[in-house]
């Protein structure tokens, strides 16, 4: 297992293309998310020069997980699309608060989806730790995540200090929630 982290402009273009294709297979094809995205590529307006990606690859260099980090000083998903998940709080704009989204550790080589949906047990915690470490290295002191409720369970399992920002929204039949993740004391 290897982890590759970097900004959109620093990651090889073929790897970025693979990430978008992987995200399409996971979120659109497997999970059925109704996203306005080209066929075969899951990409939106928040995939830009300031975006940071963490990618997990297996020994065959197949992607088995990825996450997306955005500084809240640039437009981000929670601010632009799901501000109601903040329960009335103004979307943060701070260089030490980053947003985590598009987190998945789905192994496309598995024959059947696990009951954990977009997460496979083996990769998940390690990918989460690498993601949070990456955010910390970019100056984050807090992360706000926009994710299915499974990420809450994952954060607790991995031992991070986290709590939800407010009630979830039901999107395509599944609860989507924003979580605050406190990085002080992490690593």
């Amino acid at each position: 297992m290897e982890f590759i982290a970097g900004a959109y402009t620093n990651i090889p273009s073929n790897l970025i293309a693979d990430v978008f294709n992987y995200r399409y297979k996971v979120f659109v094809e497997q999970l059925g998310w109704e996203l306005d995205t080209p066929y075969g590529r899951e990409v939106d307006q928040f995939d830009h020069d300031d975006t940071v990606y963490v990618v997990a690859r297996d020994e065959n260099e197949d992607i088995v997980g990825c996450s997306r980090l955005l500084p809240t000083t640039s437009p981000y998903l929670l601010e632009e699309v799901f501000p109601q998940l903040l329960n009335g709080m103004s979307p943060p704009k701070s260089s030490d608060i980053w947003e985590l989204s598009r987190f998945t550790s789905f192994d496309l080589n598995e024959e059947t989806m696990s009951k954990n949906g977009q997460f496979s047990a083996e990769v998940t915690v390690e990918l989460l730790k690498e993601t949070i470490l990456c955010a910390k290295e970019h100056g984050a002191k807090k992360i706000i995540s926009v994710s299915p409720i499974g990420v809450e369970r994952l954060l607790r399992k991995a031992g991070f200090k986290a709590h939800r920002a407010g009630p979830p929204m039901i999107i395509d039949g599944y609860p989507l929630v924003a979580c605050w993740i406190e990085l002080s004391g992490a690593f």
Binding site: G88, K161, R164, G166, P167, G173
Partner: protein, 140 residues
């Protein structure tokens, strides 16, 4: 809409702290009605036979919230214990919430004590009936 309580909403104003928590005493929390938002199973392959409840390994989640502004949110995982007759819904682990309970002096409980107290308070309610009805309706 199903509620965990049927009392009138407590007039205690709810404030959102800078860290995103809503801070309340236990009594204030208990006095705020919570409505069922959503419940679901963790595996889409599992089907619930509402007559026999004969499947094993059934678990899922349930979400509740208040109609206040800001809104209280609390959710937890549950498992259907089929060894009991009738099968029973049981809370698994500690809940997830944006509520931080305080003691009589207005001091935050520790993070774990907060979740344990919320768990105790939830277990005193009739959440199981609402979850059962919701799951039965959604998956039958």
């Amino acid at each position: 809409m199903n509620s965990l309580k049927h009392s009138d909403p407590q007039s205690t104003p709810l404030n959102l702290s800078d860290d995103g928590y809503i801070r309340l005493s236990k009594k204030s929390f208990q006095d705020i009605p919570l409505s069922h938002l959503d419940s679901g199973l963790y595996s889409s392959e599992q089907k619930l036979d509402s007559d026999t409840m004969s499947l094993c390994g059934i678990s899922g989640y349930t979400e509740w919230h208040s109609e206040t502004i800001p809104s209280i949110s609390i959710g937890w995982d549950w498992a259907l214990t089929t060894s009991k007759n009738p099968p029973a819904y049981e809370m698994i682990d500690l809940p997830f919430s944006n509520v931080h309970l305080q003691d009589d002096f207005g001091v935050d409980l520790s993070l774990n004590d907060n979740l344990r107290e919320l768990s105790i308070l939830i277990k005193k309610t009739n959440w199981k009936n609402d979850v059962k009805a919701s799951i039965t309706k959604r998956y039958s």
